[in-house]
């Protein structure tokens, strides 16, 4: 098992958002985490990536058998955990490709691989950039500065393509995208599906899952996974709405 989360409780600004969440993800699988706003989807992604504002109060999470929660965010990244941000952050004055080269070389150094020089890096980037429709001009701009919403999301998946993580958490990657941009992003993600890589897609809408077809779908409500199933669960949700799950839960309790 690549990722094993057990009974995870996470607090943000003294408010408990995840209330005992468990999730297992194996290599090669694509999981979708769905749920209404405020159910804790993004909190899960950010807590797993180690965002300092998200405090884990109890539970465990292991990554390839290692204690994920004991690692710093950069260690998690070096171990092969990648998060595509819902709101990618701007870093003024730092060239997009310079940033990515620094990131890649940090990972390579951690793995005991030789760092790439500028020429080797450019060769690698050229190939991956095609995949996400990233042009030279975009590589030369400051990180995310002045990027459109679609460009930012494409850039995130482009970074994923270059960094080649073992586990990718896509946090609302579809939000704010028109259908064309969505397709480019989804095609990029699909091209990156591999037997030794797992992908966890966090999304509010089923739409993205038409393009990135998941192996498993989990529905989050009030900080817990309340239902898991195959890809058809997403369609059912789309048809019946999140209210349907809540109603069923209420019925089960009654």
């Amino acid at each position: 098992m690549l990722l094993d989360v057990k009974d995870l409780r996470v607090t943000v600004e003294d408010k408990e958002i995840l209330q005992g969440l468990s999730l297992s993800v194996s290599a090669g699988e694509v999981h979708a985490i769905m749920g209404p706003n405020g159910s804790g989807k993004s909190t899960l992604a950010r807590a797993l990536a180690g965002h300092p504002a998200y405090a884990v109060t109890s539970g465990t999470a292991t990554f390839d058998g290692k204690d994920l929660l004991a690692m710093s965010p950069e260690e998690r990244a070096c171990e092969g955990l990648f998060m595509a941000f819902q709101y990618p952050v701007e870093i003024p004055g730092i060239n997009n490709s310079y940033f990515l080269k620094a990131a890649l070389n940090a990972l390579r150094k951690f793995r005991g691989q030789q760092e790439l020089d500028a020429v080797e890096f450019l060769a690698l980037v050229k190939e991956k950039a095609k995949l996400l429709d990233i042009d030279r001009e975009m590589l030369g701009r400051s990180v995310n500065e002045g990027f459109s919403g679609g460009e930012k999301k494409r850039n995130e998946i482009f970074q994923m393509a270059v960094l080649e993580p073992r586990l990718a958490l896509l946090d609302e990657t579809d939000s704010g995208l028109d259908i064309d941009a969505l397709k480019v992003v989804a095609n990029g993600v699909n091209a990156l599906r591999r037997p030794d890589r797992a992908i966890v897609v966090v999304t509010h809408y089923q739409r993205l899952l038409n393009y990135i077809v998941p192996d498993f779908v989990h529905v989050l409500s009030n900080g817990r996974i309340v239902r898991s199933g195959g890809k058809e669960l997403a369609l059912e949700l789309e048809a019946k709405g999140y209210g349907w799950i809540d109603a069923e839960l209420a019925g089960a309790k009654a």
Binding site: A49, G50, H51, P52, A53, S72, P73, E74, R76, A77, C78, F82, M83, F85, Y87, P88, V89, E90, I91, P92, G93, I94, F99, L100, A102, A103, A106, L107, F110, S142, Q159, L163
Partner: protein, 480 residues
């Protein structure tokens, strides 16, 4: 009666002078400053009379002056009588090549990462190294000499080019200018001198490294750069100093003269000992830098200030000639207990003069960073323009950033723009970098160097790389 008194005094001072010359090889003055000290220093330097006069009138003016208090700095009282005003290396070398330099001196330079020989070979930079107030090596002089460019220590210039020194010394920074500049005018020991003749473009960056070595020795450098009509010169000044326990006074004066159509680019990396993490020790740096730009001339100051406990420094331009241009690009960092009050003055006197100010202040730890800039547009400065941009970056919540822009506009056709911003290195920016595998320290360095990019790109290439390294060293331990 009075005549005989004078004669006796003259004799006395002459004996004194010789007395000192015999002891020159091993000399460090005992602490203290009075007129005799100024005379002794002048004698040791072998000053001509006019220079001794300059020193004496400066010293007398200084006695009447008080330290300025308008700055936003907390400074322990400085006892000017506790410092020594001259110190020379044990041997006064007359060197033809680097091999002749005292091996210990060379070793120190190497420890500071300044291997002169390599610089000579690799970078094509002519290096005038000032070691403890006396020049020990000057290179590339011949090559420059072929073009008529003079690049030498200040003392040598006094000896060999007295007419130039006499004409321009104090012409930009008058000896009465301010407390620290006046002190410097009285007791400056050495420094650098550059003259670029008419129409000559200096083919290499001129560079000098300063280092403060002896304990309790005030360092008073004097630099004079004259770019004659239509010439161009780029001058680099870089400083490092080893660990020290006590505050140490430093008051330099730099004067630039850009005659008609000339360009002077003056770049500084200042990395003197800033004091330890508790704020103990560190250098007090009070610098007066100013340039006069004649018609169509251009002066660019670029500075990266990472060191010193106290930085008090305002490289300025007097835009005297019509269509002259002044630029100031600055990065100032303060970490731990460092304080910086720095900025510029752009004084527009000529018509259609233009100036640009880009100031980037970075504060970390308990550092306090003040930008103080004045833009003055004189009554006759038709069509003058200024653009100022002052950005501050805060790392942590115990530091401070302050901006004091002063505008004095007396001509209604002038255009003056001022922009200012203050930002904090955000948790989200840090997390984004770290999520990509970049360590906290590297992330801060990256964000900071992005913030400073507009200034770094004004620096010559090799200097920009060094500046970036210094920034990361000076911000070490500021996060986490």
């Amino acid at each position: 009666m009075s005549t005989s008194t004078e004669t006796i005094e003259q004799l006395a001072s002459r004996e004194y002078k010789y007395g000192f010359e015999t002891r020159l090889e091993t000399d460090t003055f005992p602490p203290g400053l009075d007129e005799q000290v100024v005379r002794r220093l002048s004698a040791i330097k072998g000053d001509p009379d006019w220079l001794l006069e300059f020193r004496l009138k400066s010293f007398r003016a200084w006695l009447q002056m008080k330290e300025p208090t308008w700055h936003n700095l907390k400074i322990q009282p400085i006892n000017y009588q506790a410092a020594s005003y001259y110190s020379a290396p044990k041997k006064k070398p007359e060197l033809k090549s680097m091999d002749e330099v005292d091996p210990d001196v060379r070793k120190t330079f190497e420890r500071l990462g300044i291997p002169l020989e390599e610089q000579k070979l690799l970078s094509g930079v002519a290096v005038d190294a000032v070691f403890d107030s006396v020049s020990v090596a000057t290179t590339f002089r011949e090559k420059l000499g072929e073009l008529g460019i003079i690049f030498c220590s200040f003392s040598e210039a006094v000896k060999h080019h007295p007419e130039l020194v006499k004409k321009y010394l104090g012409s930009v920074v008058p000896y009465t200018d301010n407390f620290y500049a006046t002190l410097n005018s009285a007791v400056f020991s050495d420094g650098s001198f550059v003259y670029v003749p008419k129409g000559v473009r200096c083919p290499m960056e001129l560079s000098t490294y300063f280092r403060i070595n002896a304990r309790n020795t005030g360092q008073f450098e004097r630099t004079l750069i004259i770019a004659d009509e239509g010439s161009y010169v780029s001058y680099l000044e870089g400083c490092t100093a080893p660990m020290r326990d006590e505050h140490q006074l430093h008051a330099a004066v730099v004067e630039l003269v850009a005659l008609d159509n000339a360009t002077i680019k003056y770049s500084t990396i200042q990395n003197w000992y800033p004091g330890d993490a508790q704020g103990k020790g560190g250098i007090y740096n009070f610098v007066t830098k100013r340039g006069t730009a004649h018609k169509h001339a251009k002066i660019t100051w670029t500075q990266v200030e990472t060191g010193s406990a106290i930085t008090w420094k305002y490289p300025s331009c007097i835009l005297q000639g019509d269509y002259s241009v002044g630029e100031f690009y600055s990065v100032a960092t303060t970490n731990n207990w460092q304080q910086a009050d720095t900025g510029t003055k752009m004084i527009h006197l000529g018509k259609h003069t233009r100036s640009t100010i880009v100031s980037k202040g970075i504060s970390a730890g308990h550092g306090q960073n003040t930008y103080r800039g004045a833009v003055k547009i004189a009554r006759n400065a038709e069509g003058a323009r200024n653009y100022s941009q002052c950005d501050s970056l805060l790392i942590g919540d115990k530091c401070g950033a302050h901006t004091f822009p002063y505008l004095e506009i007396k001509n209604s056709t002038a255009k003056v723009e001022h922009e200012a911003s203050t930002s904090k290195i955000g948790e989200d920016q840090m997390f984004y970098c770290r999520q990509r595998g970049i360590s906290m320290e590297d992330a801060v360095n990256m964000i900071v160097s992005g913030f400073c990019r507009e200034v770094f790109r004004e620096l010559p290439m090799e200097f920009a790389v060094e500046a970036q390294k210094l920034l990361s060293i000076s911000l070490e331990g500021s996060v986490g």
